[in-house]
């Protein structure tokens, strides 16, 4: 992945998570994954188009998703959830939208033009995601609710 794209995603993930969860966020070591990689259980996908093609995946396990959604709802003075219902799914989707949106804004300021597709949420066990010949950059984030991985796979349009 193009070097210039890395920081905007890392910064956006850190600042958005810190803001919505109101807590300390630790970033793990960035690494690359080959195309087929397992998904933790709940994954919000946002497609990217424009100068590049690819997608951003916000990936976490079901328990983390419920707790993160609850924390976000609580901050808006809403009832926490106990299972991943419609409200929970919408909340996680919105989180992915916020992170990707902020990253794309930062990229736009650097002169890269990205368009976003509406997010989709995928849940299930033992899922794998594969893109042909695009490796994924993994930004692992540790929050009190658990581990969230931002998985970015984009390539230049050639």
């Amino acid at each position: 992945m193009r070097v210039e794209y890395i920081n905007p995603f890392v910064e956006a993930a850190t600042s958005i998570l810190r803001e919505v969860l109101q807590c300390d966020v630790a970033r793990g070591e960035l690494y690359l994954k080959s195309t087929a990689s397992p998904v933790l259980g709940v994954a919000a996908i946002i497609g990217l188009a424009g100068d590049v093609e690819g997608r951003v995946l916000l990936d976490m396990n079901r328990q983390t998703a419920v707790q993160v959604a609850s924390a976000m709802l609580a901050s808006m003075e809403m009832e926490p959830i106990t299972e991943l219902n419609d409200l929970g799914r919408a909340t996680i989707t919105e989180l992915a939208n916020m992170i990707t949106g902020q990253a794309v804004t930062k990229l736009h300021n650097l002169g890269f033009k990205f368009d976003l597709t509406p997010p989709a949420l995928v849940t299930g066990d033992n899922m794998e995601i594969s893109n042909t010949n695009v490796e994924a950059l993994i930004v692992p984030m540790e929050v009190p609710q658990g581990k969230i991985e931002i998985n970015v796979a984009v390539r230049e349009r050639g």
């Binding site: 992945m1 193009r2 070097v3 890395i6 690359l32 994954k33 080959s34 695009v134 490796e135 230049e156």
Partner: protein, 453 residues
């Protein structure tokens, strides 16, 4: 086609004359210069040129593909790459040895000009090295296989091995139907190999020089202390280095610590690495550059902090002011590559040449936007697969020597599949590409270069 093959061979021979000592040639008259992987099919022993074999595999779980000839066993997922698998026994109408349904089938993955293909055999035997001079032309009674698929027959330890011409069997001619018959019955497999291969196998092969035990020791030590991998790509340098080291250290090879490993490897690195190319190095590269034909794409894996990337980009811009140029540079070391897009010199760069392509900023000298726009730095591990536009220049200096041999093969395949021909490949000064890629050496001065045609 035959004409091409001959020219290629002649070129490599000339080449060797230029760049190697004569003695290896003389010595190889009776030595092992043809290696084959042997296997059994319907009770007879067969062999294929080891240079054609990508790997030995156990196939299980094919995916059956409808509407294919009966000898197509299906497609197989080889670590993400889908390859076709052919059952040679069905193809040659041989009896198929009984095998339990859940037992994986023995087979080979062959690298043909058209790509990878898997073949199923009864069982893999071993690797046998013979002298190509002992290979005899095929005779119709030798095998159950149509003679035009046989490139020769050779005896080894009282066993007859039938050498198959894989390109003829599985290559593009398969689709075209009949081949010219027995006139070309000895395919290239049975010919004395191009001299380049002969060198590779004499160096890496069975006829081991006396220092080989030492080199094996050094090789495993280096591998545990550094990422350096002793392979045919750099074996020549290592042998020379071991010899020199012995004379300097009274016969002791005391490479036991990281410091001594670094000392041992001193001198391996290409002189112009980790800095912008000097005028001399750049001039030598310039002489090797091909005629411009449209857009020029460069693949620069393992670019590190980006010095060589900027060097090649500025050189190309000055040589081809009109052409579209793109340099795809990548490294899996995030720390090093992340500084590459914004490289800054606090003092003046090493050569005035670069000043023409730089602007002075408050922090120091930086390359102009025009040069930066030619380059795409990627945080990337090319083992995960690459999507590159067809490239005609590869700058891969001191990268192959730090990769295990199977990963070197991946690089070779990426170059073979992704390049326009002719493709100029620049390797490290002490790296030899001939053992792993059929190409010709075009080195000039300090620059080690190869041309893939």
């Amino acid at each position: 086609m035959a004409g091409n093959a001959t020219t290629e061979r002649r070129r490599s021979v000339q080449h060797t004359g230029l760049f190697r000592t004569q003695e290896i040639d003389d010595e190889s008259v009776e030595s092992v210069d043809f290696k084959m992987v042997t296997f059994s099919l319907g009770g007879k022993l067969y062999g294929v040129d080891i240079m054609m074999v990508s790997e030995i595999a156990k196939f299980d779980e094919f995916t059956y593909v409808p509407n294919t000839p009966p000898f197509v066993a299906g497609v197989y997922n080889l670590r993400g790459e889908i390859i076709s698998v052919i059952d040679l026994r069905v193809m040659f109408r041989l009896p198929i040895a009984y095998r339990r349904a859940d037992e994986p089938a023995d087979g080979l993955i062959l690298r043909l000009e058209t790509g990878l293909i898997g073949v199923i055999v009864d069982s893999i035997d071993r690797v046998v090295g013979v002298s190509s001079q002992t290979i005899q032309p095929p005779h119709p009674i030798f095998a159950d296989v149509n003679i035009r698929y046989i490139s020769g027959v050779v005896e080894f330890e009282q066993q007859l091995y039938i050498i198959l011409d894989t390109e003829r069997i599985l290559g593009p001619e398969l689709a075209l139907g009949s081949a010219p018959g027995a006139a070309r019955a000895i395919g290239r497999g049975a010919q004395p190999l191009p001299a380049s291969d002969r060198i590779a196998q004499t160096v890496a092969g069975d006829a081991e020089p006396p220092a080989s035990v030492l080199i094996d020791n050094v090789s495993s030590t280096l591998h545990s202390l550094t990422d350096f991998v002793v392979s045919p790509v750099n074996r020549q340098w290592v042998e020379q280095r071991v010899a020199n080291w012995q004379s300097d250290h009274h016969g002791e090879i005391d490479v036991t610590t990281p410091e001594s490993a670094d000392r041992f490897l001193r001198g391996f690195a290409t002189p112009d690495s980790s800095r912008l190319w000097t005028d001399e190095y750049r001039a030598a590269v310039a002489e090797l550059l091909p005629e411009p034909r449209g857009a020029i794409n460069v693949w620069n894996p393992g670019c590190g902090a980006g010095y060589e990337t900027y060097s090649i980009a500025t050189l190309l811009r000055s040589v081809y002011p009109e052409s579209g140029i793109k340099v795809w540079a990548g490294d899996k070391d995030l720390l090093r590559i992340s500084t590459a897009p914004n490289m800054i010199w606090s003092s003046e760069p090493p050569s005035e040449f670069y000043l023409d392509h730089m602007v002075k900023t408050r922090e120091g000298y930086a390359f102009t936007g025009e040069i930066k726009d030619l380059i795409l730095f990627e945080f990337s591990d090319f083992l995960h697969g690459t999507t590159l536009p067809p490239f005609s220049i590869v700058v891969i200096r001191d990268v192959l020597s730090y990769l295990p041999e199977e990963h070197q093969q991946r690089v070779v395949r990426t170059i073979e599949d992704g390049s326009l021909r002719p493709c100029l490949i620049i390797t490290g000064t002490n790296e030899d590409l001939l053992p792993i890629l059929r190409c010709k050496e075009v080195s000039r001065g300090p620059v080690r270069g190869y041309l893939l045609e």
